[in-house]
Symmetry: C2
Subunit: 354 residues, 2 copies
C-alpha cells in the first residue's frame, strides 16, 4: 500500500470538519470561500463541491490555475498581487471570476495599466498581524486605490479582506475572539465608509482558529479559513479542534529501534513533515504526536510518544519503555503533523484518501 | 526568466566548491563519495561526473533509483535500511553496485532472507550524534551483524560508517575537529578489529562542517559530505564556508513595501525556503540573508537586511531606511537560504543554473 512516508487523509474526518464549518456558515449567513492552500488537491476540492461550495481561496497564481483547470470558476488569490505574474493573471481572469489582493497604490496602478480582462480586487487590511496589508488608518492610500479601481475598466472593487494570523499566537480562546471582534469592527467601519459608492462590497475574513472557535461568524460577509479541513497539532494546541478532528497523519516506516535510549528512528523527516515545531521550556520541541496505524485509520496518540527531532529524512521518536517493545524495523507508525498545510504541500504526490 | 520563487544555482561557485573538496580529497588520498541529497539533480550530478566522480551517496531508495536511471552505478544509501522497500532495493541492487546501511541485527536478518541480488552493507556507528547507528561499544551486536553478512551470499560487509551530525551544533572549529578526530579513532579501531577477516573493509565519514574545516581527511578511507556543493547560511555560521561560497540563492518577487515599519513582503515562504531558521537571543530569528540580484549572479548581503519571519507563501524582510527605498512591488531580490538541502528539495522543479 505504501512503503515511504505517505499522507493518509481520513475522508470521514474531512467531511465532518467541512460539515461543521458549513453548518456554522449557514447559521451565520456568510459566504463560504474556503482556502484551498491547505490541501492543494482537486480530489479534496471535489468533496467541498459536492457540498455546494463554488467559491474558493488560494495563495498563488499557480494554485489558481490548477483549480481553474479542475473546473473552479470563482477564485480569490489571497496574496498581495505578484506583478511578475501579471500576464498569467490576465489570462486566467479571462477564463474565470478572479479576485486579487492589493495593498499598495503602486501595484494597483500597474494592474490597472496591464490587465485586459476584468478582475475583482480586495484591499488587504492589516489589523494587527503586521504581515501584509494597509493599516486601517491609511485612508489616503485606501482612497487612492479605490479611485484607481473606479477609473479602471478592468478593476472591480470588491471590498476589504484581512487575515488575522495573530490568532495563532493568541493566549486562549478569549484573546482569539477579541482579535476577531476587533477585525470585524475595523472591516465593517471601512465597508460602511464606502458602501454608498460601492453597494456590493463585502468584508472577508480568514484564519482557522477564529472561524473554529467562534459560534457566530455573522459579523463578516465572507469567511475563508483553510486549515480546518485537516487541522493539526498546532490547531489542537491553539484550541481550534480536538485531537480526533485531525484528518491527516503521515504513515512512516520504522527503520531502527533503540531500547537503550527509548528512541525510535523513522523514515519521516523535514522533507515530509516540514521543520515546523512547537517549543516549550527546557528545550522541549515537538515535531508531531505518534499514533498507531489501524486497519481503517489510526489510534489516539501513544502516551508519552512524540517526534522530538528531525533532519532531512530521519525523525527521532521518543517513546517510553512500555511501548517501545511493540515496534520493530519494518513496522509503520503514524505522525500527526504540527502544521498540516506544510506537510500536505510536501506530500502532494504521496497521499492516500482512506 | 522567472516570475515565482526560483532557485538560482551559480555554476562557477558549484565548481569551485567541488574543486576545493576534490583537491583536499586527492591530497588526503581518500575515496570521494559525495552525498547527492543536497542537490538531488542529475544536472548537478553531471558536474561531479565530469570531474571524475563515480561513487555517490543518497538518502533514500527513490533517490538511488533516480541517479541509477541517470547512469550512476555505485551508490550508497546512507539511511538505515527501510525494510518496507526491500523489493525495490533488491531490484536496484541487480542493476548497480548498491551499498546499504544497517544498525540492527533484526534488519540485517531480514535483508539476508529477502535479497536475491548482492548488496554491500555498512554498519552505521553512532559516535555521539545519537540519531541512528550502533554505539561503538555494542560489539556483540556488531559481531552478530558481521556474522550474518558472512553467512549470507547476498550481503557483502563493506565497513563502518558514521555521520557526525553533532558538528552542526559544535561551538567553533576546534570542537568540530575534535569530533572528527574522535570519529576517526572509533571507526579505525573497529576497522582494525575486523580487517584480518575482511581485508577490504573501509571507514566512511560524512558531514560538511568537518570535511570543510579539516585540512587533512586521511584519517578516513572515504568521505561523503553533501551540503558543500551549495553551502548555506547555517554553514557560514558554523564556519564551513565564506558567504561568497554559497552557490544558491532563491530569487523572490517583492510584493509589498512598508516604509512605515521598514519591512518588505516577498513571495517566498515556507514552501520555498523551508522553515529552518537560526535563532539568537531576544527572539531574533533569521530565515535568510537578502541580496540584490545582478545580471550574472548576486551581490553581497544587503547590510542589516534579512528574512525575519515566514509563513506558507509570505516572507517578511527587515530592511533599513537606507535600502527600502530601492524596492518596489514587482522587483526581485535574492535570499541566501539557511539550509540549502531543504530549500533545493522544495524547489526541485523551479531552478535555473546560471
Amino acid at each position: 500500500m505504501y512503503s515511504t512516508p505517505t499522507l493518509l487523509i481520513n475522508k470521514s474526518k474531512v467531511e465532518r470538519n467541512i460539515n461543521r464549518m458549513l453548518e456554522k456558515v449557514k447559521r451565520s449567513s456568510v459566504i463560504f470561500r474556503p482556502h484551498f492552500k491547505t490541501h492543494q488537491s482537486a480530489e479534496i476540492g471535489e468533496i467541498f463541491r459536492q457540498k455546494g461550495v463554488d467559491q474558493i481561496t488560494v495563495s498563488s497564481v499557480s494554485m489558481a490555475r490548477y483549480f481553474a483547470d479542475h473546473g473552479w470558476e470563482d477564485i480569490t488569490i489571497a496574496f498581495p498581487v505578484n506583478l511578475q505574474e501579471v500576464d498569467k493573471i490576465d489570462m486566467l481572469s479571462g477564463k474565470v471570476n478572479l479576485n486579487l489582493l492589493v495593498d499598495s497604490i503602486f501595484s494597483t496602478k500597474q494592474l490597472a495599466r496591464s490587465l485586459t480582462n476584468k478582475a475583482g480586487i480586495f484591499i488587504e487590511i492589516d489589523n494587527g498581524y503586521h504581515r501584509s496589508g494597509l493599516l486601517p488608518e491609511q485612508i489616503p492610500e485606501i482612497d487612492e486605490i479605490i479611485h484607481l479601481a473606479e477609473n479602471s475598466k478592468m478593476l472591480d472593487f470588491k471590498g476589504f479582506l484581512t487575515h488575522a494570523g495573530n490568532t495563532y499566537s493568541a493566549k486562549g480562546k478569549q484573546e482569539i475572539l477579541s482579535i476577531m471582534d476587533d477585525a470585524a469592527s475595523t472591516l465593517t467601519e471601512l465597508k460602511e465608509k464606502y458602501i454608498d459608492r460601492f453597494p456590493l462590497i463585502i468584508t472577508s475574513y480568514g484564519d482557522t482558529p477564529s472561524c473554529s472557535i467562534a459560534d457566530d461568524l455573522s459579523a463578516f460577509d465572507e469567511i475563508k479559513p483553510g486549515n480546518f479541513v485537516y487541522y493539526d497539532v498546532m490547531q489542537y494546541h491553539i484550541g481550534s479542534c480536538q485531537l480526533d478532528d485531525i484528518a491527516v497523519v503521515v504513515a512512516c516506516p520504522v527503520v531502527s529501534v533503540y531500547p537503550e535510549r527509548n528512541e525510535i528512528i523513522i523514515y519521516g523527516g523535514a522533507v515530509h513533515l516540514s521543520k515546523e515545531f512547537i517549543a516549550a521550556d527546557n528545550d522541549f520541541k515537538l515535531f508531531g504526536y505518534v499514533v498507531n496505524l489501524t486497519e481503517d485509520g489510526w489510534s489516539e496518540p501513544i502516551p508519552g510518544t512524540y517526534v522530538s527531532s528531525i533532519s532531512q529524512e530521519h525523525g527521532i521518536v521518543k517513546i517510553s519503555e512500555t511501548f517501545i517493545t511493540k515496534f520493530k524495523p519494518g513496522n509503520m507508525l503514524g505522525v500527526l503533523p504540527i502544521h498540516s498545510c506544510l506537510t500536505a504541500d510536501l506530500l502532494r504526490e504521496n497521499y492516500i484518501i482512506i
